[in-house]
């Protein structure tokens, strides 16, 4: 970020252009963009912290997103209270699995991108527009993804047009896929998705939907060593974000603790978690 000798705003700031902060950075300060760094050709997947499991599920009138709190570096637990679920703007949430450093940077850039557009245009992007911007961001990280530093986000938000929640998943090349009802990404995602399949119903309330999301994370932690279960000793519980017509809200710590305590108590009787009704 440089000024010319007079202290005057650099020409790039005063040049009429688009409303994208990423495009502005690409022209004026490309070094601030993730994905522009060259690494050589090694595989770094075990050398930096990686975030693990994220789940999202819709309910009538909104969407819930939850993430465990563990970051791993190979077989080491790099951090036990990392946060991976964030508000992207007032009406959407973004979370990531994969390389934690790049993931956090990507989330920050994505947040600024949405806010920047909103301020310049005086209106917000459509939910699909936001989802596409995130695609572009991931695509810029492709070279690193190929070296084990992939970031795989999950994006969800409230869509004013359909008055409900929507979920978008991504692949490391920037492919964008809309998911129905629920989805999960990260190392424990297979197990979480299995649990979601059995527990999810379309008519859940927001609170029940949060419970289902947390149950599925506990199941993921049960079978995946890289996913952190609820830490009952340190009282570290998943981060749960809820997006409705009222905007993004992080579920208060106490509410999450309540849900976890109940689920935990039940699992003393049945360690595999709630059983779904068979053959109905």
């Amino acid at each position: 970020m440089t000024f010319d000798a007079s202290g005057r705003l650099p020409e790039a700031f005063l040049t009429p252009g688009g409303s994208s902060f990423m495009d502005f950075l690409a022209g004026h300060a490309p070094d601030l963009l993730p994905g522009r760094r060259s690494l050589g050709s090694a595989d770094y997947s075990n050398d930096v912290p990686h975030g693990t499991t994220i789940v999202a599920a819709t309910f009538p009138g909104g969407v819930v997103m939850a993430g465990d709190r563990r970051a791993t570096m190979g077989n080491i637990i790099a951090q036990r209270d990392i946060e991976k679920v964030f508000p992207a703007d007032e009406y959407s949430a973004v979370a990531f699995a994969g390389s934690a450093g790049f993931g956090l940077e990507m989330v920050r850039l994505f947040q600024v991108e949405l806010e920047h557009y909103e301020k310049l245009e005086g209106t917000t992007l459509s939910l699909d527009g936001k989802a596409n911007r995130l695609s572009a961001l991931i695509r810029g990280n492709l070279a690193m993804a190929m070296q084990g530093l992939a970031v795989v986000p999950l994006f969800a938000g409230y869509d004013e047009d359909i008055k409900g929640g929507r979920i978008f998943s991504y692949d490391p090349t920037g492919g964008r896929y809309e998911e129905t009802h629920f989805h999960s990404v990260g190392s424990g995602s297979l197990f979480a998705r299995g649990a979601l399949k059995k527990l999810y119903r379309e008519d859940l309330s927001a609170a029940d939907c949060a419970t289902v999301a947390i149950q599925s994370l506990i199941d993921a932690a049960d079978d995946d060593s890289a996913t952190g279960g609820p830490d009952m000793l340190r009282r570290i519980f998943p981060v749960v974000g809820v997006v409705t017509a009222d905007g993004y809200q992080r579920l208060p710590e106490d509410d999450v603790a309540d849900i976890v305590d109940r689920a935990w108590a039940e699992r003393h009787n049945r360690p595999d978690g709630p059983a779904s009704a068979t053959l109905t």
Binding site: R8, L14, G122, D246
Partner: protein, 283 residues
């Protein structure tokens, strides 16, 4: 060989200043006022889409008068600068002082460079602090002069007459409803023979509200909300040009007293950005 006419530097600068001043005076006024919980912006603006007041960053806003294309360009530059600083450092490191300084240098450089037309704009950069004492309002003119303003600032159109009116009636710690009433009345007292009564659709209003729970403190006030506040703060709604000075004087005090009981049930529709349904606090 032709010899160019000699123009003294004083004359040159005076001409450029006159040119800019005339352009700015042709427009309509904008006011920024410190009130108890933040800073209020009121601008006479008949366009619902082309704003004179806008959000820059969490605690910062921008107001301008003059040529739209010129100040819009400055606004965009300001948003870019703020977002870029916030992204490369931290959100708390984006300050009004730095932005005002960048604007001052830019305006000054354009004003004194021979090749460019001076910008016909006057702008305000306002930033709210934790308390009213920490609020900052910087006023920048076409030539890059910068002034640190306390209380209120008026620019554009018949700025002097409007500022006189505000100066007579302004008091520190004024309520939002009181400040709004005062600003709207002041815009009507533009020095012409009859006092104009501005209607809500002719006014653009926004606040930097430090009591907002969100990180971003900027909020536009919609036409409906504005109409409601204005009708509440003036019970005797009998607009007549003959009753110019008297009712205005009379309502300065009731306004402040009125708005506390009125305030709590008020269903303020929040106006983006960002929309904020919980934020139904009194105005």
């Amino acid at each position: 060989m032709s010899v160019p006419f000699y123009v003294s530097p004083e004359q040159l600068m005076r001409d450029r200043a006159d040119f800019a001043r005339k352009g700015i005076a042709k427009g309509r006024s904008a006011i920024a006022l410190q009130y108890a919980d933040g800073i209020l912006f009121v601008a006479e603006n008949r366009s619902p889409a082309l704003h004179k007041v806008a959000e820059i960053y969490d605690r910062m806003a921008f107001a301008a008068v003059g040529r739209y294309n010129e100040f819009e360009n400055l606004r965009i530059a300001g948003v870019r600068l703020a977002d870029m600083r916030g992204y490369s450092y931290d959100r708390r490191d984006v300050t009004g002082r730095a932005l005002a300084n960048a604007y001052a240098q830019t305006l000054g450089a354009i004003f004194s460079s021979g090749g460019e037309k001076p910008l016909e704009v006057e702008i305000l950069v306002a930033e709210i602090g934790a308390t009213a004492a920490d609020d900052q309002i910087y006023r920048l003119t076409y030539d890059g002069s910068i002034a640190d303003v306390r209380g209120y600032a008026v620019m554009g159109g018949p700025a002097e007459q409007v500022a006189d009116y505000v100066g007579e009636h302004y008091q520190e710690g004024i309520s939002l409803a009181g400040a709004l009433r005062l600003a709207v009345d002041a815009l009507g007292h533009d020095g012409s023979s009859d006092v104009r009564e501005l209607t809500p659709d002719q006014i653009e209003v926004a606040v930097l509200d430090r009591t907002r729970t969100q990180v971003r403190k900027f909020k536009r006030i919609s036409e409906e909300t504005l109409a409601r506040i204005l009708s509440e703060s003036r019970p005797d709604t009998t607009p007549s040009e003959s009753a110019a000075e008297a009712p205005v004087e009379a309502d300065a005090t009731p306004t402040a007293a009125d708005d506390s009981p009125e305030a709590s049930p008020a269903d303020d529709v929040p106006v983006a950005p960002p929309e904020d349904p919980d934020d139904d606090r009194p105005l």
